[in-house]
Amino acid sequence: MNKSPLNYLISVAIIAILWVVFAIFMGDYFSQKPNLADKTPESFANDLRIIFGIGAFIAIICICYWFYYGSLESTASEMDRAKRKWNGNFIFLIIVSVCLTVTLIIMNMKQGIQPQWFCMYFGVLSALTFISFWITSFLLSPLTVKYIPLGKR
């Protein structure tokens, strides 16, 4: 499971499935339930798909980079740097999810969407970004960095 390219493929699949679940299957729920002032639910669903997609895409890049970095032989001698890299990726993805939520808020300020919905979007973005990164790196990191993710150290 932690061998290339299996770990890359499984990670991409996990994040893609999550995106499909949140953006496609639950897309109608997320776009139709909130009260929208002048935007159609279809247009809002489209916005959500794009924002969730950006989050998922960035998470995929981060996890692929982590796997690539973890498979380099030179990483074996720089465990402290590897820890910093993992922490950096993780925090970066938290920031990404916050930024994307803020983007959603700014884009839809005039729509009068209740705050709890933005909390829910943040939850989805979290699942697609740093939580996905944590789960996939926890389960599928190359052997050299297998014990770096949070909870494994």
Binding site: A76, S77, K83, L143, T144, K146, K152
Partner: protein, 521 residues
């Protein structure tokens, strides 16, 4: 059943035994090896070091458990049950030949004999202290070594269980230099026919020219030189200028005498590399190891490993010489059997290389891991894979830092430092190209402090590890050692203490590293 005994005479004998022990540690020795050392110079630096090395080996072997099929420390080194494995010849300090012969009494009571002694020995020879050896005068040594106490340890070690042995099963190998004093004197006296080969008192002889003893000997010819201070204030001493004439005289004498040896090995080196400064003996006589001593140890293994002989053995003489100025892995005379020579050379190179990388990586990296807390090194995958599961702080089988494991690491560290000092010293003699110590050592070797050997940090000098063994290699670095070797080694033997698992992980990883780093021709 076969019993192997090696008898090292004098400083060279002690140094050959040092080499033999290191080769045994690497897994090249016989299954059992009994050791006896003869040296009147109890404080001799070479002897003192070999004595402590034997004790370290025995202690480490007791604590270290091998994984599966690896042959590390497979040789059971046996010393006398009394713990006395060195025959120092003299009972008291300040012994002289005169005192040994009761020359003063002789003068008073037996004028004829005292006159005879005066013809054989000069006044200087009669009155010079011998506790630092025979100072290049084998004629003195031959007198005092003529009648060793065969019924006391360490010699009694030869005769323990003799009755259970058949013809030629007690294999005794005597090694010493013949260009100095102690070795040149001891070789013909200890190797004389009645003393060991056909000893009647202890039932060595079987009648009809047969014996339970197969006697081999390595005559170590001049192979080193040393710096001599022009202001040496000693009554009797030899310099390297005396070596050729002393050697010639000794060889002529041995040729004339009918000694008990069945097989002889002649080993020497004309390059005469420097191994240290001049010393008549005592603690200051502590020299850098030399590859000729390793070759002599190899000769003993060849002797012990030869097939069983039921009849009267034929006399055999073995000689090996360099084909070029330098010596590399492909030139070592490892066996008398030409068909097996290449196979033996590969095996030898592999075992010595594996142990070298093992000792280096443990000391330069593994030791640092043990010095840290368990929690602080869990990021290291190879460590977590082996020690994270079922970890318990107070369990010797789970925690390599607990209980007996710390004793094991202490003994192992001491031994590994000695091994690396030895193998690096061989490289120090510019003409031996087995390992490249520049890739391993930080600074120079200092014979006065073997345990203070300074090693290069493999995490900083990453590429050095792949260049330590002198051979065509793939140039793998320390990262490759960790990822392709250490991380791929998991030892999950529940019967082993964690410390043993830790060391075995490093050995297995070293084996893998050398295997993938080697370029197959």
């Amino acid at each position: 059943m076969q019993k192997n005994v090696i008898i090292g005479i004098g400083g060279t004998g002690a140094r050959v035994i040092e080499s033999a022990i290191h080769l045994c540690a690497a897994g090249l020795g016989p299954s059992e090896l009994n050791i006896i050392i003869i040296d009147p110079d109890e404080a001799n630096g070479n002897l003192t070091h070999t004595k402590s090395l034997i004790k370290e080996y025995v202690e480490l072997r007791k604590k270290f458990k091998n994984k599966g099929d690896n042959t590390l420390f497979k040789t059971n080194i046996v010393i006398s049950p009394s713990g006395k494995f060195v025959w120092n010849i003299f009972q008291e300090k300040d012994s002289t030949l005169g005192k040994y012969m009761n020359y003063d009494n002789l003068k008073k009571n037996n004028q004829t004999l005292s006159d005879f002694a005066e013809i054989l020995f000069t006044e200087k020879e009669l009155n010079t202290g011998l506790n630092e050896g025979f100072r290049g005068h084998p004629s003195i040594g031959a007198v005092v070594m003529a009648d060793p106490p065969m019924d006391e340890y360490p010699f009694k070690l030869l005769w323990d269980d003799i009755s259970t042995l058949s013809a030629n099963d007690l294999r005794v190998f005597i090694v010493g230099s013949i260009f100095g004093g102690t070795g040149a004197a001891g070789f013909p006296t200890i190797g004389s026919r009645p003393l060991i080969k056909f000893n009647e008192k202890f039932n060595a002889t079987l009648g009809g020219g047969k014996s339970r003893v197969l006697l081999g000997g390595a005559l170590v010819l001049p192979y080193f030189s040393f710096s001599t201070d022009s202001e040496v204030d000693e009554p009797m001493f030899v310099t390297t200028n005396d070596f050729p004439i002393a050697t010639k005289a000794a060889l002529q004498y041995y040729n004339d005498k009918e000694l008990g040896f069945d097989q002889y090995y002649f080993i020497g080196d004309s390059l005469a590399q420097k191994v240290g400064n001049f010393s008549t003996g005592s603690a200051t006589q502590d020299n850098y190891p030399h590859y000729i001593e390793m070759v002599s140890a190899i000769a003993s293994f060849d002797f012990f490993n030869q097939p069983k002989i039921d009849d009267i053995p034929d006399k055999k003489y073995f000689i090996a010489c360099r084909e070029m100025e330098s010596v590399d892995w492909s030139m070592l005379p490892l066996t008398r059997d030409n068909d097996k020579l290449q196979e033996e050379r590969d095996r030898f190179k592999q075992k010595v290389s594996d142990f070298t990388i093992f000792a280096y990586t443990y000391l330069a990296y593994g030791k640092g891991i043990i010095a840290q807390k368990h929690q602080d090194v869990l990021a290291e995958a190879w460590y977590s894979e082996n020690f994270k599961k079922n970890f318990k702080e107070s369990d010797v089988q789970a925690n390599p830092r607990y209980g007996e494991n710390t004793d094991l690491f202490e003994v192992a560290e001491n031994y590994f430092k000695d091994f690396l000092f030895w193998i690096c010293s061989i490289d120090k003699n510019e003409n031996a190209h087995l390992i490249d110590s520049n890739n391993l050592l930080e600074g120079d070797l200092d014979i006065k402090d073997r345990k203070e050997i300074k090693l290069k940090d493999p995490t900083k000098f990453k590429s050095n590890i792949g260049q330590i063994i002198v051979e065509r290699n793939s140039g793998l670095n320390f990262d490759a050692f960790k990822t392709r070797c250490l991380q791929e080694t998991i030892i999950d033997d529940k019967t082993m203490y964690a410390g043993n698992r830790f060391l075995n992980i490093f050995y297995e990883a070293s084996k893998k590293f050398n295997k993938i780093n080697r370029v197959i021709k």
